[in-house]
């Protein structure tokens, strides 16, 4: 690992030691964050998978019913029946904070509360398959919204985990080794200077003693 280009001074050493301390602390915190995010993510994604399978299955059922309805009814009358929806949905969106990741929370309200009052057409000119298709669709709607919420959350969490993991690795494998190496380099350099200074002083002392002896003789 390459060392940084710094002056080997005592001041630089203190500065680097401080940075190392901060980096170690940051590393520990980020690692904790990553682990917690991962735990949350795995829970979420497992539920997400189950829900998606359920929703897909139900939607396929809806499509099958629709197919039959289309076969029984003329396309004009089918379209006419569905032209003006009775049911309206309003969606309230808020956000929830999971480990500093803002994930959406969807909350919906339907305009008519009664589940049996959702059919926007008279029953005389339409087939029963259409009724069951729309009935199933209305049932699957809450799950669909939950799925949307979960899927978006897991996407956002996955991104955050990726980012955090990169940071943890950068600290662990680049910054912290670099700092330790540089600190070692500076300490060694300073020690070396100290030793050099000491020998020089001893040498000077010897020379002075020698001079004094000569003068007294």
């Amino acid at each position: 690992m390459a060392i940084m280009r710094v002056n080997p001074t005592r001041m630089e050493l203190t500065r680097l030691k401080k940075r190392l301390k901060v980096a170690r602390r940051g590393h520990k915190l980020l690692k904790d964050k990553r682990d917690e995010l991962m735990k949350k993510f795995l829970d979420l994604v497992r539920k997400n998978k189950e829900l998606r399978e359920k929703v897909e299955e139900m939607l396929i059922k809806v499509h099958q019913n629709f197919l039959i309805a289309r076969a029984v009814m003329s396309s004009e009358s089918l379209e006419g029946a569905l032209m003006f929806p009775k049911q309206g949905i309003t969606l309230e969106v808020s956000t929830k904070n999971i480990m500093s990741v803002d994930v959406p929370v969807l909350d919906f309200k339907t305009s008519s509360e009664d589940q049996s009052d959702i059919y926007p057409y008279g029953f005389a000119s339409t087939s029963g398959e259409l009724d069951s298709a729309i009935g199933t669709l209305a049932q699957v709607l809450p799950s669909m919204l939950e799925l949307a919420q979960m899927e978006k959350s897991s996407q956002l969490l996955a991104q955050e985990i990726e980012k955090t993991r990169r940071r943890v690795n950068a600290l662990e494998y680049v910054l912290i080794p670099q700092l330790t190496e540089t600190i070692k380099f500076i300490t060694m350099k300073l020690d070396e200077n100290e030793r050099g200074n000491l020998t020089r002083l001893m040498k000077v002392k010897d020379m002075m003693i020698e001079q004094a002896r000569k003068a007294s003789n």
């Binding site: 929703v55 897909e56 309003t90 969106v93 956000t95 729309i134 899927e151």
Partner: protein
């Protein structure tokens, strides 16, 4: 106040209108892309898109994956499931964990 949109071929999405969603029938990938880009800027928090349409405009859909809204969710169309939705879940697992650990057994 947010709305829910559905993009897909007309036959697949007609029913969603009855439960109060806004439907946008499209027939070509280009058209789908335009519609998606248009309604993504509007007040749509969730956009469902049939897999048959989604498969051609994956790159456009991916643009929105980083943003908080809208959530673009693939759903099976009337021709059945293509497995794109479940693939998306798999992708986020791979992204987060680095390896696929949920779907190994399949």
């Amino acid at each position: 106040m947010y709305k829910i949109g559905v993009i897909g071929d007309k036959d697949s999405i007609m029913g969603f209108k009855a439960v109060g969603m806004s439907v946008f029938p499209v027939s070509t990938p280009l058209e789908a892309q335009e519609v998606l880009e248009k309604i993504a800027d509007e007040q749509y928090a969730v956009i469902y898109i049939t897999e048959q349409v989604a498969v051609d405009i994956v790159s456009t859909i991916d643009q929105y994956s980083e943003k908080k809204f809208p959530a673009i969710i693939p759903i099976p169309g009337n021709a059945g499931s293509l497995g794109i939705g479940i693939k998306g879940v798999k992708k986020s697992v791979e992204r987060a964990v680095g390896a696929d650990i949920l779907f190994r057994d399949e």
